[in-house]
Amino acid sequence: MESMLSTKDLTKQFGDFTANDKINFSVREGEIKAIVGENGAGKTTLMNMLYGDLEPTSGAVFLRGKHVRFNSPRDAIANGIGMVHQHFMLVPSFSVYENILLGAEIVNERIPFLVNSKEEKQRCRELIEKYGYDLDVNEKVANLSVGEQQKIEILKMLYRDVDILILDEPTSVLTPQEVDEFLIQLKKLKAKGKTIIIITHKLREVMDVSDSVMVMKQGQVIGNVETDETSEAELAQMMVGRKVLLTVQNDHKSVDGRTVMLNVNGLTTNDAAGKTVVNNVSFHIETGEIYGIAGVEGNGQSELVKLLSGMMESTSGSVVFEGQDITNWWVNDLRSKGIGIVPEDRFAEGLCKEMTLCANSIAGSTASKDFSPRGVFSTKRIRDHCQTLIDEYRIRIADFDGNVSQLSGGNAQKLIIAREMFKSPKLLIACQPTRGVDIGAIEFIHRQIIDFRDKGGAVLLVSSELSEVLSLADRVGVMYKGGIIGEVDPQQTTETEVGLLMAGAAPRTEATA
């Protein structure tokens, strides 16, 4: 069969570390190819080489059977290969159309220095319409949800008329509804003749959308299968090398002597534009309890987390932690009271890419005596601590003394969770804790959260992954338009019922599903 894009013994080394080891990859014209594998398996690295972003150490790339060499993404795009990265690269202060056309501005015919923005907007509108998206070309990217930003990334490539579209974990940032819509879009793109390579950790999506699958592990290809000849369980086993539980083992164990850990009362706040984004939110979390927040992304969950983690100020309402009023406290005070925070945006708020693994491993606890027993950092203690986190969470690293930028997406997330859990907090605020994490590690992280709960910890779990919230949480509040529209017991509620609430339907008692 005709192979559109393929590699022969493609290898990439970072120093002594081999991230891709003699990869033979091939995608057929017009198919959707899924690539799966654990965090750090080398998926992104491989794609970056195909996209000209990384130079292979050895091996070759073939496009339509012809040997090609891309020195930069620009070469790749010129040859019809486009890529949307795991972490977006948009300019937040630019509008939608400016971002789509960045670097490809349409200039005024008479005055070549001036950008013809009327024409630009028009073309963008046409493009958006052609692919059936729903976007306002004038909106600033900073005001858009992640899902919408991703659409722009894809449109950017479509505008440049690529034949092969590489998508690195496109769905890990989307809400379930957005994912469904996205998968339909992918099939449409395929119908339009595009060849698509998609990296994902969600096997359901692989089964749903792909034609064939390549499985990677520790820098090598360990399997190539046709999608209709395999199953989720088989893929999972291939990836991890053992049987993986695809459902969470949660006995909703009841801890004795529960007391209220966190009490949120009438919490309200506005965004910069003055719009009420969190509206009169009240709930409480007890010790030994996981309180889940479900909801369609953009209904105030992010802001609620920001309020509770000291990154935003409330206009009214109160937050009481262990009987103490902590409303609008600073982050450092919240942390020292025993609140662990796994933020939504890992590279903006969880980690500093340009600092070392060690420096990141003590973020949030730099004042701790453990790391500076005599008022001065103890390099040895910090290194030991960092090594412990890496070992316990099996974080795959290339260079211990290097910066966090070397970590693959999932491993970066693991580092944050490891760090926050290590402090044995009393309350853990976990926002999208398993976003972009491989199935083996998801199982592990879920286990950690449940163990934490069983030992009496309180957890606030915010996730756009409905199944995650429903299987982990003991109680679930559903957010809609900034408020909690209803509270349900996940053991007695179906996804459909919650889905209705998420869409703003009247509370459960009246819903007859």
């Binding site: 930069s72 993404p73 620009r74 070469d75 795009i77 010129a78 040859n79 019809g80 960045l102 670097g103 490809a104 501005e105 440049r160 008329d161 690529v162 983690s309 000291g310 990154m311 600073w330 982050v331 450092n332 919240l334 942390r335 020292s336 925070i341 933020p343 903006a348 708020e349 969880g350 980690l351 500093c352 890419k353 340009e354 600092m355 420096a359 973020a363 949030g364 730099t366 004042a367 500076s372 008022g375 001065v376 950092f377 260079d399 003394d401 290097g402």
Partner: protein, 359 residues
């Protein structure tokens, strides 16, 4: 890792190398032997006892001024007001030195240093608050305030505090108890040792303490810093104050070890504060880099006199070299802060890609 360090080193060495090369070209053009000139310049300012001690003496305030700027640069703050803070500090030390009578030389100097540090901090406070709470660009504010400060000091020195006996604008000479004495028969004074101690302190803080961590984190990712509980605003104010204090101390030391009264050319031309900026850039904003760059730069300054003395080359050649270093470094600075080249390249790449796909 290593490659990264090499790039950093090249960033510092290349501007210097280019400047020296062009300087050599000019000398050849004028019919002089550049090798001989450079030999004399650096040979005499670094490899003779007299020259070296001179160089180190001149380097003392430069080290502090360089550190004052470096500490803010690392946090991605730009205290361009070091010159003004340094002048203010020097002036205050001059007043304390001249008008306050104290029997203990040690206490007198200490008091002068304290007054200078306070002056520097005071003068850094306004831009710090503006930046931390109203997000006013501190670069513009501090830059402007330099001129305000120069004007105020000019007024004070030529009016209320003028030394009537002097034939030019100057304050009274400080008392002997406020003067640093020379070490042996070199020009070095204990102020050099103070500078080195402060350098060690800054190096230690940077490397080994929460303070250094905070500075680095704020410089690299303010949002991350805030989210992990480093109080960004508070630390911005703190950093600017530290920077102001260092600048003030540099001025005081210069006053008590070199100038002894405040004149309109107190800090020379370009001022020590401006030199400090250059030194910080040359030193890659690391304390050790600043130390080395300060000594190098000082040797260039003292070398200028030697070039005049021992060769027929006009000493202005050194000013040209200084100017060239500044030019090359500014290009680097602009790129660092605003990244026009990077942006332009990215844009061009996309553009060419676009063109490629149209074909």
């Amino acid at each position: 890792m290593n490659r990264f360090n090499l790039v950093k080193l090249a960033n510092s060495l290349l501007p210097v190398a280019f400047a020296l090369l062009i300087g050599a070209g000019i000398m050849v053009g004028m019919g002089h032997n550049p090798l001989e000139a450079y030999g004399i310049m650096f040979g005499r300012s670094l490899f003779t006892v007299r020259g070296l001690t001179n160089t180190l003496h001149m380097a003392s305030p430069l080290i502090l001024a360089g550190l004052a700027i470096a500490v803010t640069f690392r946090a991605n703050l730009f205290n361009m007001g070091v010159e003004g803070q340094l002048l203010f500090g020097g002036f205050m030390a001059g007043i304390v030195g001249a008008y306050i009578q104290m029997s203990s030389p040690l206490l007198h100097k200490l008091l002068a240093f304290l007054a200078a540090a306070a002056a520097g901090m005071l003068f850094a406070l306004l831009p710090a608050l503006l930046r931390a709470f109203l997000r006013v660009d501190e670069m513009v504010v501090t830059l402007t305030l330099n001129y305000v400060m120069m004007t105020i000091l000019e007024y004070l020195a030529s009016g209320p505090f003028r030394n009537q006996g002097a034939g030019y604008v100057s304050t009274n000479t400080i008392r002997e108890t406020a003067m640093f004495s020379r070490i042996g028969n070199t020009r070095l004074t204990p102020f050099f040792i103070i500078s080195v101690i402060i350098f060690l302190l800054m190096w230690f803080l940077q490397k080994k303490t929460r303070f250094g961590y905070t500075v680095e984190a704020i410089g690299k990712n303010p949002q991350f810093s805030e989210a992990t509980g480093l109080r960004v605003r508070r630390n911005i104010v703190k950093l600017m104050l530290i920077s102001g204090a260092l600048a003030g101390i540099a001025g005081a030391g210069h006053m008590m070890s070199h100038e002894f009264n405040y004149t309109l050319s107190f800090s020379g031309n370009p001022g020590i504060g401006w030199d400090g900026m250059l030194i910080s850039l040359l030193g890659g904003h690391s304390p050790l880099g600043v130390l080395i760059a300060a000594v190098f730069y000082s040797s260039l300054k003292t070398g200028a006199d030697n070039i005049n003395l021992y060769t027929g080359i006009p000493k202005e050649i050194v000013a040209i070299i200084q100017g060239l270093i500044i030019l090359f470094l500014s290009i680097q600075l602009i790129e660092q802060r605003f990244g026009p080249v990077k942006r332009w390249r990215a844009k061009r790449q996309m553009k060419e890609a676009e063109r490629g796909s149209v074909e």
